[in-house]
């Protein structure tokens, strides 16, 4: 059965070819700007956050859909979920969300691809069923503020989503002092204290930046892409304009999330998973994953 906001067959073909589709409109620009003003304060309110982290941890933006109502509603918004179902099938879970602020002067993000999401922690965070020939997650990246080439928009290399150039099991070392100081290919960039080049399967591999496209987005727009698509972001070269994106990550419900893991250690922080669970946004879940039906603040998610 096709849903109201599904991807058309042409859009699905485009997504299969390029590894991304969009941007699409979700909120109008003015209402998103207004909402962002209150969200800024909400992001500092950790009373109901599921992870016990100080406000200066790099991971404060993880899984805020489990405690901030705006994000709880966002991850199950039909304009998003219907499109994700067009790609992943009828049973879909949101397993992770992250905010990505890029403040004036911040470096760009390294070119990278994510398959197991174990690149920083060293342990796979999602495991597809054994018969699957592919992995990764669908990321829906929503601009809460304007994402331009000056504020540090996303960059994609179309069609690169079916071959991983990185081995996430190699492991990287975290060095917060490396943030904002390293130039790669003439651009100041890094990976939040890591160097993603350390995961390259071929040490001489260089992403084909000549084929890259900038994903310029108005506040309230979203783009959908495979996490295995080669992607990066530009530095924020403005003086006062913060770029902030909200990434919601989806997988089919038969993917096991955080297999055999109670504690995640990455980016210099620890996440205890005792309050964590996936949110089933379409269809039915999988008994291997703990499901969250009500957010930590009391928002009732769709009942599977």
């Amino acid at each position: 059965m096709q849903t109201k906001f599904h991807l058309t067959s042409e859009q699905q073909a485009q997504f299969r070819r390029d590894g991304y589709i969009g941007p699409f409109d979700l909120h109008d620009r003015d209402s998103m700007r207004e909402k962002y003003n209150s969200l800024r304060a909400d992001l500092y309110d950790r009373e109901y956050a599921i992870y016990d982290l100080p406000n200066d941890s790099p991971l404060v933006g993880y899984d805020r859909h489990l405690d901030i109502d705006f994000f709880s509603m966002h991850i199950e918004h039909p304009r998003i979920v219907d499109k994700v179902v067009s790609i992943l099938g009828p049973n879909v879970c949101c397993w992770r969300s992250e905010t990505f602020p890029k403040y004036p002067g911040d470096e760009g993000t390294d070119w990278h691809q994510a398959d197991t999401f174990g690149h920083a922690s060293g342990t796979p965070q999602i495991r597809w069923p054994q018969h699957s020939t592919f992995g990764g997650a669908i990321t829906v990246w929503t601009a809460l503020t304007a994402a331009t080439e000056e504020t540090g928009c996303l960059r994609f290399i179309p069609g690169t989503h079916e071959e991983m150039h990185y081995d996430e099991s190699i492991g990287m070392s975290f060095d917060p002092n490396s943030v904002n100081v390293i130039e790669k290919g003439g651009v100041r960039r890094g990976f939040f204290g890591y160097d993603y080049r350390n995961l390259q399967k071929d040490a001489d591999f260089v992403p084909d930046e000549g084929s890259a496209v900038s994903i310029v987005m108005e506040p309230g727009q979203f783009v959908i892409f495979w996490s295995t698509l080669m992607h990066a972001s530009l530095p924020n070269v403005t003086l006062r304009d913060t770029r902030i994106g909200f990434a919601a990550r989806y997988v089919p419900c038969d993917v096991v999330v955080y297999p055999d893991t109670d504690l995640v250690e990455e980016y210099g922080s620890e996440l205890k998973l005792n309050k964590y669970g996936v949110v089933v946004v379409a269809g039915t879940g999988n008994s291997a994953n703990r499901e969250v039906l009500v957010s930590n603040r009391g928002y009732k998610f769709r009942q599977p």
């Binding site: 800024r40 304060a41 992001l43 009373e47 406000n55 200066d56 404060v60 403005t238 913060t242």
Partner: protein, 79 residues
Amino acid sequence: MNTEIVASLVLREFRDREALRDLKGEDNIFDYGVSSLTVVQVQAAIESVLQIELPTKILMKYPTANEWSKRYSSALLAK
């Protein structure tokens, strides 16, 4: 510590940060593109001098130096 001294301290701690050098008391600090880390550092610096702590979530709802000053002054009076 009187209200004027608290206001002066709060504004000075903000202005000590390069990005906030031109901040006025009524300006929204977020309009200066200030990072969350910087805001938390400013809060810690103020609270270290005043020997009082306020919840970050309250301060972020009123993101100007003037509003922070009011809240710190009130908290000091109630101490």
